[in-house]
Symmetry: none
Subunit: 402 residues, 2 copies
Amino acid sequence: MINLELIKSISNPSPSKIVLVVIDGLGGLPNPETGKTELETANTPNLNRLVAKGICGLTDPVSPGITPGSAPGHLALFGYDPIERNIGRGVLEAIGIDVELQPGNVAARGNFCTVDEKGLVTDRRAGRISTEKCAELCELLDGITIDDVQVLVYPVREHRFVAVFRGKDLTADVTESDPQQTGVAPLAVTALSPEADRLADIANQFIAQAKARLTTEHHPANMALLRGFSSQPSLPTMNEIYKLKAAAIASYPMYRGLAKLVGMEVLDTETSIEDEFATLKQNYSNYDFFFLHIKGADAAGEDGDFARKVSVIEQVDNALSELIGIEPDVIVVTGDHSTPALLKGHSWHPVPILLYSKWCRPDRVSEFSESACLSGGLGRFPATQIMPLAMANALKLVKFGA
Amino acid sequence: MINLELIKSISNPSPSKIVLVVIDGLGGLPNPETGKTELETANTPNLNRLVAKGICGLTDPVSPGITPGSAPGHLALFGYDPIERNIGRGVLEAIGIDVELQPGNVAARGNFCTVDEKGLVTDRRAGRISTEKCAELCELLDGITIDDVQVLVYPVREHRFVAVFRGKDLTADVTESDPQQTGVAPLAVTALSPEADRLADIANQFIAQAKARLTTEHHPANMALLRGFSSQPSLPTMNEIYKLKAAAIASYPMYRGLAKLVGMEVLDTETSIEDEFATLKQNYSNYDFFFLHIKGADAAGEDGDFARKVSVIEQVDNALSELIGIEPDVIVVTGDHSTPALLKGHSWHPVPILLYSKWCRPDRVSEFSESACLSGGLGRFPATQIMPLAMANALKLVKFGA
C-alpha cells in the first residue's frame, strides 16, 4: 500500500527532472501468427537503448487480475491508491469532455431515453439519437435553476450527456434514476444520507422539468435518466506530495482533466506524437516533472488493430530520440494498463515499464518487451510505486528515519 | 504487511538455531569501470557456497524507492513494520552513544549554539566546538533537576549532545526549540497535547537554566537547542513474538541499542569481524538466535571507498567459513539497506539476501550478487518477511489453521 504521508515527509525539491511517458494501453498479447506482442513486434531501437542502460519490470495498475479504467490506471501512475481514490462516473464523464468542475459541484452522467405513455422506459438510449440532436436537447435543458442550484447540461455523444449541479450544500450521496432496464419507470433519486436530501430533491425536480421540456416533438428522446452522481475528489496535489512543479502534455481531454485533478499544469499542445514531444522540449526548463500521454496505442488496441498499435509504438520510439538527447535525470516509459489488440479492450495483464537514470541499478535486459521485462530488475510491482522510484532515482527523496 | 500476532500464535521454541548476519549497507551500484558492484567484485567463495545450496533474493527494507535509516532498516530485519514503529530521533541519538533509557524517559537531541546579545541564534552549531569542549559543557548541565525530573546530559560529538529527561508523567509530544535557522530566537517548547504540558514546561526551564550556566566565558557555545523529543517505543520482544532466546553481536552502540529495544541480549565482543564471529562461536550453545552486525561495509560505502567495501565483504566471507562448520540450522546473510560507494550514502536499492537451511527449496543461483539474486527463489520481498522465513526454515513455526 502506498503511504503518501511518508513520501510527503521525505520528498525535497531539487533541480533534477523526471519525464513520465505514458503509452496508453501499452501492454499486449502475442499475435497468434508470430507469437509476438505489439511491443515485441515494433522496431524500437531507442526504447531498447534506454532499457539496456536502465532497469525494467512489469506493473500492476490496480492489482493482479483487475482491468483498470483510464482513471484508476493514471491515478496509480501518479502514486495515488486507485481503489481508495476512485473517481465517480459523473465526474469522469465531465472531465472527458473538458468541463471544468468547481469544488462542491456534483456531476452526473445522463442518457436521453424513450418512455411510453405510462412513463415506462422503452429504450434507455432513445434509439441512439445523433450527437447533433443530443446537443440541441442539451441546449433545451441547460441552465435550469432550482432553489439557487444551476444545472449545466453538456452533450457527450449520441444519447449521452453530462449534468453538472452547481450551487451550495450539494452532497453526491444519492441513488440513480436510471433503472438499467426497460419496462419500468425511471426511479426517483433518493438520498443515501441526510446531507444528500437537498441534491436528491433538486435532481428529481430537474428530471421533472426535463421531461416537461422534452415534449413529444423530440420523440424518441422524451425523457432523461441520470446516474453516477459524484463530486470532484479532493486529492493532495503532486506539488504537495512530491514538491514537484508538474506539467501535463496530453491530446485528449480525459487525461488533461486527470492531470489537473492532481495539480499538474496542462500545457497547450498540438496533438501528434511529434508535437507532444516538441511541447515538452519547449517547456523543458520551466518544470521538473512531465507527464506525456500518448493515446494512439490504446485507441488502436481498442479497435483490434494490431499493426496500427505497433506503428504508434514505433512513432513514440522515434520521438524518444530527441528526448534522450535532452538528458532528463529520470525517464520512465510505461502504460496505464494493457490494451491487447486481440482483446479489443483494456485488460488486466501487467504493464511493461522501463526506468532510466544514472542511479538505477541496471539489469541485464536489453530489449523493451513484455517477455524481457519479466526478468527485469524492478520485478513485478504495483504501479503506485513508480513515482517513489522515479523520485528516488532523481535524488529527490531524503532518508527515512535515522 | 507483517502480521506479528499471526507469527506469535504459530511460533514454537525448539533447539534449532538461526544466525542472521547483517552486512550493513551490503547492496551497491556497479563501478562504471567494471560494471560490477562491490559484492560482485568481492571474491566470496563461502557466500557462493551458501547460495549454491540455499536460496536467494532481494529485499525492500521499507518499500521501493525509500532509503532507510539504520533504525527502520534493522526493525524490518527483526520483523517489525518500520513505518508503524518509527523510532524518534532523540531516542536514536541516545541509543547511538549507549545511553540506557528507561520506560517513560524522554530523550532529545541537543545542539550547543551561539546567540547574540539580543538572544538571536547566530550559529546553530557554535562553530562546531570540539568534542572535548562539548563534554565539558555537558558536565556543566548534567543533573539539573526540575520538579523531580532529572535531566541527564551526554556529549555526542562536536556541538551535539543528548538530553534525557528522567521522571514521572513525561510525554514526548512537544515541539522543538531549535528554530532550524539563524537570525531568530530559539523557540519555546510547546505541548502538542495536554499530557505533554509538564514536559514542555520542564524543557523550557531546563533551557533557561542551561543558558544561565553557559555564561559568556563559554562563547561561542552560549546556548542550547533541543529537538527530536521522543520516548523509547514499547515493542513486543523477539522472545514474545518468536519464542527465541536471541543474542546480539555488534561493535557499534546504535545496533546494540536497537537489539536491546527488541529484547535481545547483547554479548560482549571485541570489534573486528573475526572477533565478532569468535564471540558467536563461544556463545553458540546459549542462544537459538544470533544477530551478528558488521558495520564496516556501510562505513566504507559512506566514505565512497569502493575497494574498502569489497575488502570488508571478503573478510566476512572468510569468517563465514568457520560459522558454516558449526552447522547452524538456518543462516541468513543480508544487509539493512544498500550503501553504494558511488552514492556515498544509504540508498533505496533492494538488498541481496541469501538463506541457507536444510529445508529451503534451493534455486539455481550459485553466486551471491545483486544481479544473480534477481533470479533467486525468494524473489523480491519486504525485509519484514525475513524473520518468518528464517523461523519456518528452522522448523519453529507450526501450521496456521487446520
